[in-house]
Symmetry: C2
Subunit: 125 residues, 2 copies
């Protein structure tokens, strides 16, 4: 089984918790926090956070913290920048080439905060 192989290749035991997390994050193509998925997984939050840290160390998962103080995780395929609306909290994935922005450093995350189109309009209401 493919999922199992991914874990074994990384010297990680193939446990139910990890299988759940892995398939959930593969199905949803968006960043999600513990809060977002807690009702869809059956494991303690400590297990969630510990496993996500491990998967991140193995470069299988990326994460960033939003302005809502929560950490969002997503599968590491095709790294990209994120736009976060500080009004409604919407997180939008962006397809910007980050490497060209800045030389001499190794960029692994770009977060752009602002007001999304919708919230910008509602300012005038």
């Amino acid at each position: 089984m493919l999922n199992k192989k991914i874990f074994q290749d990384n010297a990680l035991k193939f446990t139910p918790a990890r299988e759940q997390l892995w398939s959930l994050f593969q199905d949803k193509a968006k960043p999600m926090s513990y809060e977002d998925i807690k009702d869809f997984i059956s494991m303690d939050k400590a297990t969630f956070y510990r496993n996500m840290s491990i998967l991140e160390e193995k470069n299988l998962i990326n994460s960033f913290e939003s302005s809502d103080k929560k950490r969002y995780y997503e599968i590491d395929n095709n790294p990209h920048a994120h736009f976060i609306c500080r009004i409604c909290g919407e997180i939008r994935c962006l397809d910007i080439d980050m490497s060209s922005i800045l030389s001499d450093v190794e960029i692994d995350n770009v977060i752009i905060y602002g007001k999304c189109e919708k919230c910008k309009k509602e300012d005038f209401i």
Copy 2:
């Protein structure tokens, strides 16, 4: 006095705490957290945070949260992006125009996370 006028123009009382904060953030041209300045101010942390929030509402101060979970503040003059090294925590102010990257939204903060030049080198030691 200029400082006093700035506060009065914004319907804020000119108190010792605010005067301290304002001159400190004007002198230092870098983002600073409560931790960074607590030894140089004589006020409770609640007063610090409350005043910084107020100054931010009045658009006199900008802030962002770093990967160390601390909120950094700086004077609102000349808004700019920041690079934060996730290894050593260094915060570098950047002079990039991000507005062109993304349309339809109102950008007010850009944070680029990565590994700074120094920490990148030390990886190989």
